[in-house]
Amino acid sequence: MGTIYIDDKPVEFEAGQNVLQATLKAGIDITYFCYHEALGSAGSCRLCAMELEPTKKDDKSRVVMSCMQVAQDGQRYRLNKGSADKVRQHVVEYYMTRHPHDCPVCDEAGHCHLQDMTILSRQTYRRYDGKKQTFPDQEMGPLIWNTANRCITCYRCARFYQNYALGDDFGVYCSGQKTTFRRSEPGAFDSPFSGNMIDVCPTGTFTDKVFRRKYSRTWQLEKATSVCNHCSTGCNTEPGGREGTLRRIHPMTNPHINPHFICDRGRYGEHYSEASDRPLKCIIRKGAKNPYDNIYTHLTRCLKKASGRIGILSSEHEDLQTHYMLKQLAVHYKGIFSPFILPDTETRTRSAIQATQLPPSLPDIETADAAIILGSLTEAAPMMDLAVRQLIAKQKPIIMVHAVPSLLADLIQHRNAGEVISATPKNWHQVIDHLDTSRLSDEKVKKIVLLGVAGEMDVPAINAFSRLKEKLSQETVTVQSGFALEGANAMGAAVISNENSAHELLEAIQKLYVDTLIVCGADPFGEGAAEWEPLRNKIRQLIVLDNINTETVKQADIVLPLATWSERCGYSVNYEGRVQPFEQAYQRSSVISPTEFVAHLTPHSVEALYRQRDVWLTQLSAQLVISDQMGIQLNLQQLSGIKNTYSSHIETEGLQLVKLPWHGGGVRADFAKELASCNPWKDHYVYLHTDTAKQLNVTTGKQLHFKSGASLEVLCDNRITKDCLAVTPLTLGRIKCKANIVLPLHQIHTGETDQ
């Protein structure tokens, strides 16, 4: 676009860039605080001062803030040669007058922006000998630690929290010398993105409280590029481990998914790997083992005996490499493999993938002109929600349909940013078909994103979603549709498995064709208890690999400790069909990766299995589109395997049982105790709308009995849609019901009518 000169060195810039952006992009070191790539410039820190050379002969040069100066062709700036150098040094000296003597006990030290900038401006000694201003710290819940003294008032935190993440429970207090940044009252943040304040803050004012207890300096951590396994967005992360334990998760920049931030579930949910009840030893509960054998010789003998009668179950939360290896195991022992626990999940996933067209990436969502959201998006894929929040900030029209309380729905209503429809999921297909889209038919609307939450939609709703897409598509309007799937690698699971694999496996166990079950990273007897619990006595031997202490691990005959995603390598496919590899960050000695497990039980070596995997991936890439973006992206229209032919009977009369999600919850994230302590929903309760409670003749505190024999206490909450019974995922397993089923009224009763 043009050239500016920094200390006589030519620097290229793009249109609209400011001088600081151009300078940083050219790799020139310059001090700055308040500027952030995602948050823009504020001009408040006065640290990026440069001297602008005069264009006319008689003019004087002047000191300007480079972040507020739009680059113009031919401008000449003095960075280190002019008087601005002294200005920057004095500004840092001024910041340091009241900065506490905290570096040895500060978690930020070592990757601290303030340390870097102080050294860069060659400010080494404190001349000021007056008294330092101090601020009271605030208790900020179990995830974030606040040390208010360290603040340099760059406003980055408030700009992120209020302007970018659209939170309203945190802000600026006082003025002048007393300026400080706090929550309105002590306690945990409401926003699902509060953890980013740690990264956004250039000093140690906000630090990671979970990391604090097992702290290590950044250069001591073993890090790698990894992919988050807590939802189908597939954000890139950088886990840091030391001495075989996970210490912290940082976001890893991927301009096509998460350029800067990750959600709290991604940041804190990964600490499930440090749960005190994590299985870290091989346990044999049933079957005598020859004392001279190791566990794999024992397992091989067991499996050889059971050859032909083996079922292998993985889950949509496991990665593509695991699925591939387990499929190889199934081939070797003539078993049946399914990467889905429940046929319903498989049906929903396959239908959703069929309905996905031009899936929008997160930057696509951020730059759209309108959005239609079906389901509680914050709770299913928080980072998609953060992208939608950018549309709300720009006051773009949004329509949202939801059944359970969602932070995004509250936000849309609170900001008056669009229409929010509360409806029972069983009626969603009608709601979608009759959706009033007139507010989207503006001339300015060129790109509409359609986002669905697969976990809350049934097949008719997904079909209605496709119809809506057809209806909206016009010559001038691009419609991009995508789904937040149930599980980080649900897309990969659908790619690798045969149709109706879950149904096939359940039927084989039912008909006694299969009596030995290998479960890897799945929880059929907890999460899928509704369908799996009756089959437990038909399974003679249950071999479980897992990294959390699930109900299935408790019931298993043989337990093997499985490595987490940070502790092994693999491939994951996100909701867009983007295949992303992840690396092992650190080595935990006692755990086993699925590849090693399969290598122990088959004649193949690990290397041979990797070679086979590479061949398979190459074959798959015949169907792949090599996109110009990072990684490879699957062309979903060309994939023939993803068809959905299975359909289950759907009741229409009665109350619908829905899962109560929250933004930090997940199959694995629930085992991260600090994050789980923020869960707003209580287990072993059923949440109802007051009208539904009246219909059932119950009030808060009364018991509600289910067909399975379990009973739950009622809590009335008017945020729940009418005709819905909302329970937490754990409670769902306890009452042995599937999510989204419709319970006829005669199956639910209050104890009193019986008497």
Partner: protein
């Protein structure tokens, strides 16, 4: 011939003369010499004047160590005072360069005059925190890091240091 005899008996004479001179060596270990003040020997961890551990587990010593012989894991007590949960020094690797002492911001780690660290088993050369921690302040009797740091610990609130103002009232509108 005379020259040869002269050299031979000359040597005997020198030997005989040195036999009656005072000794330059000492009879170690019965006798010991005074070592220079700056002598760098066995490493210790010292305590504050009020008896608390000085080390705050900032990892600077283990980072600066050229032979990588220090291994630390920090944690904190219920009053948020930081301390090393684990502090191991492998004396079979330590070269007594003193960089750790120089790097230590709290004057916790100090090198002493002691140099007798022989062991018959190499594994015994790894000293743990219990072996390293002493009861006194060592070379710097008065320094207490937490009297200068901005964080609150047990017995010291925010703004209680000599060079600090008391915390601002965040609910006041006055400038």
């Amino acid at each position: 011939m005379f020259k040869f005899l002269g050299e031979m008996f000359g040597a005997f004479w020198v030997t005989l003369r040195h036999a009656f001179r005072p000794r330059a060596t000492v009879l170690y270990p019965e006798q010991r010499t005074q070592r220079a003040k700056r002598f760098r020997g066995r490493i210790v961890l010292t305590r504050d004047p009020d008896g608390q551990e000085r080390c705050v587990a900032c990892y600077l010593c283990s980072s600066v160590c050229p032979v990588d012989c220090i291994n630390i894991q920090g944690t904190e007590d219920q009053h948020e005072r930081r301390y090393p949960e684990k502090f191991d020094i492998d004396f079979s690797r330590c070269i007594f360069c003193g960089l750790c002492e120089e790097a230590c911001p709290t004057l916790a780690i100090q090198l002493t005059q002691d140099f007798e660290l022989c062991q018959t088993d190499k594994n015994n050369m790894v000293w743990h925190k219990a072996d390293l921690l002493i009861d006194k302040q060592g070379k710097d009797p008065d320094y207490n890091y937490y009297k200068h740091a901005g964080v609150a610990v047990k017995g010291k609130k925010i703004g209680a240091n000599k060079d600090e103002l008391s915390p601002v009232d965040i609910y006041s509108n006055l400038p």
